[in-house]
């Protein structure tokens, strides 16, 4: 069994590591998190590090998935901002989109010039996504979309939204759901940022009132929306696919540095950090295995990604809870804006978004283990 071609990977890794030393950026004054990440995406793109595993015909490098893991690992180790998480959107177009859609949308997605958001969840369709009620009504060569979306990250900065709406009968559950590309400047869209428990406003509510969308903006056929959504959420459950390997690696490295800054690491901290290192590395190795499998089988991610999501959430929550305990009260007695507390709070959301932990465990039990319903 081979996880990768080690010599080529090693060369890639060392090239990337060198590049990162000179190119890592820091936020500018007043720059929002979203705009900072967008700028970093563009810097990475110009360096040639985005779309490693995308087909060359759409601007990618056509490399194996293993390179995405290395990108994640090296970005994490360098302490640079998270790797961009665009793989799953691209995959939706490659799998279901028309040639025209690919040519129209993929370049901007890849370069980071267009910022995309995702209109899936609704107030009454959270973990139970099939309960969504936003309607898309056909009207000649266009659709008229009306409904409410929630938990959309950075919608206020987005150029496009991948939106799920019901083209079939109300209450049809998984049937009659379609996916659309909606330009965010369309008339009838109202975006309201939600202040998160961290104090940041990453999430938004989106209200659609009779928003006109051209028929050619539908991805796939009517009713393909559910399959597109399932593929998308499966990607979102993978730690490399969403760039979280880099996020965790950077956090762990920073934590190790902070705790050992005076050269002495107390036994309990050494033990705790060692255990975190074990969990993080197991996650990394698991991700490499998954991507290798995906490549060997030339398959899209499926229910097995719920295993990855549980492992990823476990690292996220264990790491950030331990950080609060290891760093002590100083991260709590500061005024507004404690980065470690924000990361901790956000880690609590990790078992909620993208399908709650309970939903992931249902999927594992019923779809992977075949346990009876």
């Amino acid at each position: 069994m081979d996880f990768s071609d080690s010599s080529e990977i090693a060369e890639f890794r060392s090239g990337l590591r060198t590049w990162l030393v000179d190119h890592t950026i820091t936020p500018e004054a007043e720059e929002s998190e979203a705009m900072f990440l967008k700028r970093w995406h563009q810097v990475l793109f110009r360096g040639g590090w985005v779309g490693l595993s995308w087909p060359t015909e759409y601007g990618g490098k056509g490399l194996s998935n293993a390179y995405d893991v290395v990108l994640n690992e090296e970005i994490g180790a360098s302490g640079a901002p998270d790797a961009p998480r665009i793989g799953y959107m691209g995959r939706a177009f490659l799998q279901w989109g028309t040639e025209e859609q690919r040519e129209r949308f993929l370049p901007g997605l890849l370069s980071g010039d267009d910022y995309w958001c995702q209109g899936f969840s609704e107030p009454n369709a959270g973990s139970d996504l099939a309960n969504l009620s936003t309607r898309a009504v056909k009207d000649g060569d266009r659709y008229r979309i009306t409904g409410q979306k929630v938990w959309t990250s950075y919608a206020e900065y987005a150029d496009y939204c991948i939106l799920l709406a019901r083209t079939g009968e109300p209450g049809g559950r998984h049937k009659g759901v379609s996916a659309f590309v909606v330009p965010m400047k369309s008339a009838g869209i109202d975006v309201r940022p939600i202040v998160a428990a961290t104090g940041e406003s990453e999430f938004c509510e989106m209200f659609f009132e009779d928003v006109e969308v051209a028929e050619e903006n539908r991805i796939g056929a009517e009713g393909d929306g559910w399959a597109i959504a399932m593929m998308t959420v499966a990607y979102e459950r993978g730690a490399a696919d969403v760039g979280y390997l880099s996020k965790f690696g950077a956090a762990l490295g920073e934590l190790r540095t902070l705790v050992s800054s005076d050269g002495h690491v107390p036994p309990l901290a050494r033990q705790r950090l060692g255990e975190l290192e074990v969990r993080f590395r197991v996650l990394t190795e698991h991700v490499r295995r998954r991507l290798t499998e995906r490549e060997q089988n030339d398959s899209l991610p499926g229910p097995e990604m719920s295993v990855d999501k549980i492992l990823m959430t476990d690292v996220d929550q264990t790491l950030h809870r331990a950080a609060l305990e290891l760093l002590g009260p100083s991260v709590l007695t500061t005024g507004p804006g404690s980065r470690w507390l924000e990361k901790y709070i956000y880690s609590r959301a990790a078992s909620i978004y993208g399908g709650s932990e309970q939903v992931q465990l249902n999927i594992i039990a019923q779809r992977l283990l075949g346990m009876p319903r």
Partner: protein, 330 residues
């Protein structure tokens, strides 16, 4: 939810009085504004800020058991009136046998930067919300008071910290090792009551929410996974309650055993955080919004857990006490 152990009529009335004040705090507080001056006023009018003042014989006006009732009920609303700081500062003065160093005012305590114990220099004042202007600390065995600069906020949104401004002034009282142990035991129980109130209340509202929120065509509270999450959290709340009640009784019965106080704080420090985390899971997305109060409970218990030693530190300390390697002082 009140303790299932019988409370005296007096205690029941006390709990009702405090619950009313807490309820007003909860219902009138806007998400953006953390102004608890009216809560503080109500607590003062009811005499609840003076519970650990000394009577003519130097004994406290109220039992630790009564203090626990008051602190738990106010913590249920994550109220920011500086009640706990004032109770601790008052207890400190009573034990040092000095009169109120700053008459008729809210007070709090000066702790070292790691919040591990009382301090005088390089200190910060915890629970320093309006109208706190001074804090009491310890310089060696000597009680000192220092004026404070304006509060600088903290991640426990309703309990800012403040930095001392003026010099430390001796106030004439001292605390020997026994008195210091007594103070720490009292403080541990008060903090454990705060952890109990903040975690217990958010769990109750999560259970209520689970009965209403529908997903997959039924209330999420019908799912066994959600039921078991709540059931485990309930066990942790009940165990916290048992530990707090027992520790309070131990101190009130005057046996001078500080172990139950350490146990209550050590257990509460980890259990309360886990309870609130479970409640957040039940609430789902709404709990991750600023508007919804769950994160206030989370922030409260995270900071409480660190004050005067977190669960990990106190567990190690308890081992030493039980092995006879320490006299109970940290």
């Amino acid at each position: 939810m009140t303790a299932t152990l019988h409370e005296s009529e007096e205690d029941v009335a006390l709990r009702r009085t405090v619950a009313d004040i807490a309820e007003r705090c909860r219902s009138t507080r806007a998400a953006e504004v953390d102004d608890h001056t009216s809560c503080w006023g109500a607590l003062v009018r009811s005499g609840l800020t003076e519970l650990r003042g000394a009577d003519d014989d130097g004994a406290p006006l109220a039992t630790v058991g009564q203090v626990v009732i008051v602190v738990e009920e106010m913590a249920r609303a994550v109220c920011g009136a500086p009640l706990v700081g004032t109770l601790l500062a008052t207890e400190l003065q009573r034990l040092a046998d000095v009169d109120h160093v700053v008459p008729d005012e809210a007070l709090t305590v000066l702790l070292d930067q790691e919040l591990r114990g009382l301090a005088a220099d390089d200190a910060l004042a915890w629970d320093a919300g309006v109208p706190v202007t001074h804090a009491v600390g310890l310089d060696g065995e000597n009680l000192v008071v220092r004026a404070l600069e304006g509060a600088t906020g903290s991640q426990d949104l309703s309990r800012p910290v403040a930095v001392p401004a003026g010099d430390a002034e001796l106030v004439g009282g001292t605390l020997d090792a026994d008195a210091r142990t007594a103070f720490e035991a009292f403080a541990h129980v008060v903090l454990a009551a705060d952890l109990l109130g903040a975690s217990g209340a958010v769990l109750e509202s999560a259970i209520e929410y689970a009965g209403q929120r529908v997903q997959f065509g039924q209330p999420i509270g019908t799912f066994q996974a959600v039921q078991h999450l709540c059931a485990r959290a309930h066990v942790q709340v009940e165990a916290q309650r048992s530990a707090v009640l027992f520790a309070a009784w131990s101190l009130d019965s005057g046996q001078g055993d500080v172990v139950p106080a350490i146990v209550a704080k050590a257990y509460g420090a980890s259990a309360a955080v886990e309870v609130v985390e479970k409640a957040v899971q039940v609430f789902g997305g709404v709990a991750i919004t600023w508007e919804f109060p769950a994160h206030r409970h989370l922030r409260r218990v995270l900071l409480d857990a660190e004050v005067l030693g977190n669960g990990s530190a106190l567990s190690g300390h308890l081992f030493d006490v039980v092995e006879g390697r320490s006299d109970g002082l940290q």
